[in-house]
């Protein structure tokens, strides 16, 4: 009995109150997409296991859509993105009451596609 009380007293309080501290550096959270770097190669769409990314051809440009409702934050898109347009951050407070906020679209400028072999070298 006393050994239990002693252990409880030694343990003290372990729960934490809001606001929580930052998530660990390696935590895979919110994606940041920089449309200026994107070349429309669609490697990320192929790699995504959750089909969260898609490209649509608009009149003057390409449109990249990402659904955070589908995203599983695995980070494969970041790995395959050669121009480094996608970056995962450790931002984790992602809850929202408005489902529309879970979809983001980006304009990708036509001039950057298609990626030419010459441009690569």
């Amino acid at each position: 009995m006393f050994d239990m009380l002693k252990k409880i007293w030694q343990t003290g309080q372990v729960t934490k109150t809001l606001p929580f501290e930052e998530a660990p550096e390696r935590y895979r959270g919110q994606l940041l997409i920089d449309p200026d770097y994107c070349n429309g190669c669609e490697e990320c769409v192929t790699a995504c296991p959750a089909d969260a990314l898609s490209f649509e051809k608009e009149e003057s440009h390409l449109q990249l859509t990402i659904s955070f409702a589908k995203c599983i934050y695995c980070g494969l898109c970041e790995e395959v993105c050669s121009p480094r347009a996608i970056r995962l951050t450790n931002e984790y407070l992602r809850a929202t009451k408005n489902p529309k906020e879970l979809t983001q679209t980006f304009k990708i400028q036509e001039k950057r596609i298609p990626m030419t072999e010459g441009g690569k070298q």
Partner: protein, 526 residues
Amino acid sequence: MKTNNPGDQVLHAFNSQVIHFDLKNDNHVVIDIAKEHLPSITRYIRDLGGRLFTMVGSDELNIRGDFSLYYVFAFDKDQSLITVRVSVSEQEPGFPSVTDDLPSANWYEREVYDLFGLEPVGHPHLSPLVLHGDWPEGIYPMRKDFPANMKLPRMKNRDQFMNYEGEGVTQIPVGPIHAGIIEPGHFRFGAVGDTVLHLDARLFYTHRGLEKVSEGVSINKALFLAERICGVCALSHAVSFAQAIERIGKIKVPARAEYLRMLFLEMERLYNHIGDVGNVCAGIGFSFGVSQGAILKEKLMQLNEKLTGHRYLRGITTIGGVRLEFNHDDKILMEKTLGDVRREFEKFVGIMMSHEIVSDRMTSTGRLTREQVEEIGTVGPAARASGRNIDVRKSHPYLLYDQIDFSVPVLTTGDVLARVQQRIEETYQSFAIIGQILNQLPEGPIQTRVGEIPAYQWDMGWTESARGENVHWVMTGPDQTVYRYRVRSAAYSNWPAVALAVPGNIVPDFPLINKSFELCYACCDR
């Protein structure tokens, strides 16, 4: 010819019946045989010391024109495997059941009947297992002609439970929704007074059709499905799947990646075992134990998150290696945290195991004998606590476990207390394994380039998870896809043991017995 090799012995004894045989990975013989010889070859293999590792039904109508059944047997002493393959035609969808000779085949054969419509003729208890009684009869979802998105009407429920005759037997239905945050399962007790006479367990409420969904999906995407079979064995499932693919593609994983996989597989075992030792106390209302276990488990999961980015270790496995950096600072952080957790764990179990409420309630409760666990094919800590020395890390070494010095604790009493003690001793082994891995961790690449994976090849991957061995059987399809995926988790092998351990105990001890196995429903149901 070596006569002590089980594969050669079987081939020799069934020389005239064997249609074809093949050698897969040196120590794995694949034997094709006509289905009528299945019971005799099964008996022969069983008597040689083989145990059923997994059994897979596969619709191969469009490859070879029939269904295939693969009975995979493991020989723990020889580190070898034998697969017996039989063909079952669409016109005559029956095959002789082996459950009478090999009780561990019970669930596999019922599952094949449910999902493929292949009937195990002579099965002693052929009732629905995976599909519930409200599924339309005669529709078999794992056949290739059944589309994965098909919607079916719900029928009148045909589920049947044990009927009791005579006076004094009360039926107590429990679940599928429980008073607690646990998964769904329906249990029906036949009780005389306080004592349980019989337990019917109705599982597979969380059957999501994961195997069906992964068919035709690219291998890289299927890996993410494998990771989501279950929460607490996520890494074990992912590594098992990756190993199956790596065997098919003959991919050599770099040593550093294998060490890192082992490192985090042991972390998975640690957080599970420590959490489970604490959580079993919830079965006796011993809240000190519950919270102390939860605190330590939380520390380990936060460590997981810092090191890998994910508390449940998802997203760190890839075909051909790992997606994970691990540097000197990580090693220091890990050593420090695990040192603290180990010290706290020792204090905690010292207090817990010497407390009289723990020994009063756990001793001789939910006892399983060694004969019982061997007969029904129980695996993992539940089997080892009953004296069955079974651990695929030793008997069928994978990754680089053969370079690690550790022992597999085996207890004998087989009661709840033994299963808790078993986990405590395994926890100390895992601490020691992690210590060795951190000291031996080689430098070098963590991924290897993965080339083309050949189509229509099958192989297996296995890992010893915190609940026992997970065996993943994968057949590849064209263009780097999955053709057939069969997951045999530890929970699938161990759920029948729960129903066997409960009768004879009092009803209030059921939660305690159930928690002492700490089985996962999602793993079992898929």
